[in-house]
Amino acid sequence: MNTREIKIYDPTLCCPTGLCGVNIDPELMRIAVVLETLKKKGIIVERFNLRDNPQVYVTNKVINDFLMKEGAEKLPVTTVDGKIEITAAYPTNAQIAEWYGMSEDELTIKK
């Protein structure tokens, strides 16, 4: 299995699914579910919430530089092996599947 290290840096969220927000954001739900599915396969995608882990956004130089330059509007940011790959959006299922060398179907297993 591919061992690429993927990290997602969220903006300040109430919770990972955004259900506590004004409305239900399908994107947030999709990504939360995909990450949960990966976790069940033993793949941990680290995910940070600016509200809970602001220190991470300060100490990680790549993220901090990006933030100070672009502002919070460009969150969420996804890094692959420490390099910023996606900004202002979550990775698509296709992208995640490609990074891990699996098929998209594996990310949305329905029981």
């Binding site: 699914t17 004004v22 239900i24 579910v33 809970d52 901090n64 329905k110 029981k111």
Partner: protein, 569 residues
Amino acid sequence: MIQYNPAEQQFTKYIFFTGKGGVGKTSVACATAVNLADSGKKVLLVSTDPASNLQDVFELNLDNKGTEIPEVKGLTVINLNPEQAAAEYRESVIAPYRGKLPQSVITNMEEQLSGSCTVEIAAFNEFSDILANDEKREKFDYIIFDTAPTGHTLRMLQLPSAWNTFIDENTTGASCLGQLSGLEDRKDIYKLAVNTLSDSDLTTLFLVSRPDETPLIEVERSANELAELDIKSQNLIINGILEQPDNNDKISKALYSRQQNALKNRPQSLLNMQTYFIPLRSYNMVGTANIRNMLTEDTAEQLEKIETIKNDFLNIENLIDDLYKTNKRVIFTMGKGGVGKTTIAAAIAKGLAERGVKVHLSTTDPANHLSFVNTDGLSVSHIDEKAVLEAYQKKVLNKARQTMGDADLSYIEEDLRSPCTQEIAVFNAFAEIVAMSENQVVVIDTAPTGHTLLLLDATLSYHHEVERTQGNITPAVRDLLPRLRNPQETEVVIVTLPEATPVFEAERLQQDLKRAGITNKWWLINSSLLLTDTQNPFLKSKAQGEKRWIDEVNKLSEGNAVVMKWESS
């Protein structure tokens, strides 16, 4: 029923007074604290009420750290203002990042930490800290809590067990509670707080009520709900009983028989509860001297000369006429619980309906009174928090079902168990009701003050978030705040009583409305004895005491104050 006397009472270390706002639980808690301190005990009095009036009672500025009361040796008072606690928590979280993260991020963080979740968590945090504090336990003989209004109290008391279960059951490790960094570390403190509350060797609960039908029904509900939370050491205090009627005075007789009827017909389960009473006092519970005397004697100064009052106050018809003429679409009645805002909302709705307006009446009060109110010829609804939460959960799950399978749904369900989901659910329902003003006038009887403030606060943060989120916003939510802020469309009627606490309280509410950018023109003073023709010296003295509060409200409202007569039913 025996008279409540702290000197003859065996107390546990922790004493809770709870009840609907306006029943006098602050006064009873204070009187108990003062009497115990006077008997040489070391006493800590704690208010967890978001709309606390301990400051008014002691005529002192209080804080959440503890203030020794100069006139009462041995008494320390802590005022837990959840909003202040939340602000302190917010600052402690954000301060280290100023200058190290972009300003937009700092602003965003502030916004996120302004929600009702944060306020509740911050309040509970302080609350549990006191319950779990060894130093305080050793230092004080008694720790007395003047808790928040019923609905809020229940929520707060429900939190520990809800959270314990939540933390235990939350297998995904992701939740709305994540905002409290190091929550797991505090688990033991929360657990201790829960155990302390349900341990009858440590904790006694006094439910405080007025000798009136509605408060007694409410107190029974609280008693049952608390019993379900394993808080079973319960006593009832009925505050403000008129011991002897004046048979020469209509009002005194009416008051007496109304009270006696309410007492006689009180719910069955209350009859089995240890019950105490406190006589009706003719003075307001402000200042240490009055508090000291409350449980022992009535110090009503005999009135030398009874002032005649010229009744040139505005009446409710003036108010309804103004609402009608200015074509208001959304009308709120706001105020502390027990001031009769549901009745007033119903009267306004009815008055408008009689003028040919299509009216919808709704309440967000967790303790729904509408079944007690005559609402002929109107459409009526009420926001039932529990039902609304279930509906919201269902809606989210249905939406989720379109994109995911059952296994994934369980993850979503997990998140829907979080405490803040409730707030959101209620908010959405609230927005839907206000949106009904498109084709009719909407009259809303809001929940008790603390709750109302939080709701409006949520509205405020919500609004900013709406602008930020690109998600699919319903028009109801999108239009809510602009609508509330439009004085052409919306009127907030602040309902209060001609007494110290309710007026102080209402004044704070007015300030909070201002902060939220919501205009208020009308005030209504309910249940005024001054407008009755009582000749009973005791009631007259009480009525005279109302005058300064009516004057005060007239000032606060710039002359737009309606006064309503005390009614026997």
